[in-house]
């Protein structure tokens, strides 16, 4: 079972590999990937250094090119694919049909992973991408229950990767327009959800107002823990409930340490840690815990138990300092 960790920069990449990651994923410094934040990601030169370092460690590097090019702008995405092939990355993580087609026809030996942004949740979708573009692996959206993952794993024509830990998208990824509805910026095309330039915090008496493009998405106490300001984790009222609440989801992170044996038994090949936008310290902490957990399971599967110290360490770096099993757990749904 592969431990796949995020790298927002070279420091995070080295940290992840030294802390026990089997593979790392990263994006270029432009809008070809869905974590296009200022100060993050890799220039072609840094990508080369990243690839060399990863190779030296005997580990794998995957390049994320998972946004959808707009008409007339395709060349930037094609160049990213060409660059990846030249650099010798171990796989491309992509979602757009035209890009999968481009990569598959030009670089048939370059392994393709279907990004979570392609939103493939079922056998039909996986079969299509396998038949047409020979994808090797698919990253499952965070909308399936553990049973549904198990059922899909029994029939899937490709390897499956799942999200194991990190910020929790609660919508079918790649098809969520909440960010663009409020800010005009879409993770599908612009490169991030709730881009920082639209976020504003304002103090009002004892309250802190969280504004996204001037829309009040949350109001919290000055001492309260805050999550990243996204529409799906805001507090709202409804006609039936006039006291504001997190009607979609509260700030929390996904943590599947307790599901590790089930994911392994289902033949999930890779556990993905979310967080390319997070610090090297986060990457180190999370990678170490998951390395220990996977090693513990592999050495004695029947004896595996989640250690309290692991959960505590992960809770510290979690949104709102709380964690959930998300959709894996039927009751969450």
């Amino acid at each position: 079972m592969e431990l796949l960790c995020p790298a927002g920069n070279l420091a995070s990449l080295k940290t992840a590999l030294n802390a026990g990651a089997d593979a790392v994923y990263l994006g270029l410094k432009d809008d070809t990937n869905a974590r296009s934040f200022a100060g993050l990601n890799f220039t072609p030169k840094k990508l080369q250094q990243a690839a060399e370092y990863t190779k030296k460690c005997g580990k794998k590097l995957f390049l994320t090119i998972n946004t959808f090019p707009k008409p007339g702008e395709e060349s930037r995405w094609y160049q990213a694919i060409d660059l990846a092939a030249d650099t010798g990355v171990d796989a491309l993580i992509m979602a757009d049909l035209s890009l999968l087609d481009y990569a598959h026809s030009r670089y048939p030996h370059l392994p393709l992973h279907l990004s979570v942004q392609a939103s493939a949740t079922n056998l039909g979708a996986l079969t299509l991408y396998k038949e047409e573009f020979n994808i090797e692996r698919a990253v499952l959206p965070r909308v399936l229950s553990m049973k549904q993952v198990r059922d899909l794993a029994k029939v899937t024509p490709v390897d499956l990767e799942v999200f194991a830990f990190g910020s929790l998208c609660i919508m079918a990824e790649g098809r969520c327009h909440l960010s663009s509805y409020v800010t005009g910026q879409s993770p599908n095309t612009g490169g991030s959800c709730s881009p920082a330039k639209h976020v504003r915090w304002q103090e009002a008496g004892n309250d802190r107002l969280t504004l996204l493009n001037d829309v009040l998405i949350d109001k919290s106490g000055l001492d309260e823990q805050m999550g990243y300001p996204v529409v799906c984790k805001g507090r709202y009222t409804t006609d039936e409930n006039h006291s504001p609440s997190h009607i979609l989801e509260s700030p929390t992170s996904l943590n599947t340490l307790s599901l590790l044996p089930e994911l392994a038994k289902a033949n999930v090949v890779s556990l993905k840690i979310e967080g390319r936008q997070r610090s090297p310290a986060y990457v180190e902490q999370v990678t170490k815990v998951w390395r220990a957990a996977i090693d513990s399971y592999m050495s004695a599967p029947e004896k595996y138990q989640t250690q309290q110290s692991w959960d505590q360490a992960l809770a510290k770096v979690s949104e709102g300092q709380t964690t959930t099993l998300g959709a894996y757990e039927r009751n969450w749904q």
Binding site: F68, K70, P71, E74, A95, D96, L97, S98, D101, Y102, S119, A120, T121, N122, L123, G124, A125, T127, L128, Y129, R142, V143, S145, D151, L152, I170, M171, A172, R175, C176, H177, L178, S180, Y181, V182, T183, G184, N188, V215, L216, D218, K219, V231, G234, R235, Y236, T237, T238, D239, E240, N241, P244, I247, L248, E249, A327, R330, N331, W332, Q333
Partner: protein, 285 residues
């Protein structure tokens, strides 16, 4: 350009749905999409009921397309989908790549709904090769985007439809937000969606309407209204202007909208069309 009536996104009692489509049959709307696109737990109408409605509408002279779920999770949902594709009479609207595959492997033509990610011409061409006859532009895209797609290849080898009026489907989740509002879990939701005939409005803490909870689907609180853009769309070569119904009045709206822009723009939005935040209302072009 003609009008189309999108699938009913809400959960209504069977009698209400039947009465609705009886009235649709009497209307002048040429293209009707029919079927459950949001949640497989909504079983007020079974596939056989939709099929019967489709035949009734066809006999009234309508072109009918059977719409399918936007989010397919359980194997049972995928198997049910295959039944829709195998109906032998009507084209399907694929709202997920799984449905595209089901149509493609049977060499059947299909329409791509707004929740299939079509962001460039090369992608659309690929889908066209696989049998796509028409596509509904993803809701977050703009007039400028559509113009460049249409201008890439003349004549464009497939039809173009724009989601022009109604509440926008913005996202789909494993979680049922309507049930959660009632303290219920999805598996025991008691079909609470029946109580919200056009979803449940959610507002910010300073009373700005923002979202509309519709089961596992999150919609826009504002109604997209592109009726002022009809002439522009005709010039661009758009084939269908979609009205997404939320009440019996939607039939009237669909019957008139190409002749007469709606005058009431309160609580409406058109931002996406003008390449800005979706909820914006940009003044007339």
């Amino acid at each position: 350009m003609k009008t189309s009536l999108g699938p009913l996104q809400y959960c209504w009692e069977k009698e209400k749905v039947t009465a609705f489509y009886d009235q649709v049959a009497q209307s002048n709307i040429p293209l009707i999409y029919l079927g459950e696109t949001v949640c497989s737990r909504r079983r007020q109408l079974k596939f056989s009921d939709y099929f019967a409605l489709a035949q009734m509408l066809k006999e009234s002279g309508k072109q009918v397309v059977l719409s399918t779920l936007a989010l397919l999770e359980a194997p049972s949902e995928y198997n049910e989908l295959k039944k829709h594709v195998d109906n032998g009479e009507f084209m399907i609207e694929a709202n997920d790549m799984g449905a595209v595959q089901a149509a493609k492997e049977r060499n059947l033509p299909f329409v791509c709904g707004p929740t299939v990610n079509n962001y460039n011409f090369a992608t659309l061409k690929k889908l066209h090769q696989w049998g796509m006859q028409r596509f509904v532009m993803p809701v977050e895209l703009s007039k400028e985007w559509l113009t460049s797609v249409i201008e890439t290849e003349q004549p464009i080898p497939f039809e173009v439809e724009v989601f022009g009026h109604g509440y926008l489907p913005l996202a789909h989740s494993a979680r049922c937000f309507t049930a959660r509002q009632q303290g219920l879990q999805k598996d025991n939701c008691q079909i609470v969606c029946l109580s919200h005939s056009k979803g449940l409005l959610a507002q910010t803490m300073d009373d700005q309407p923002l979202l509309r909870l519709n089961g596992i689907q999150t919609q826009s609180a504002s109604l997209i209204d592109l009726s002022n853009e009809v002439e522009q769309m005709k010039l661009m070569g758009v084939d269908y202007f979609r009205v997404s119904p939320n009440s019996l009045q939607s039939i009237e709206v669909a019957e008139q909208i190409l002749q007469q822009p709606s005058s009431d723009k309160t609580q409406s939005c058109n931002g996406y069309w003008h390449q800005t935040a979706g909820f914006n209302q940009v003044s007339s072009s």
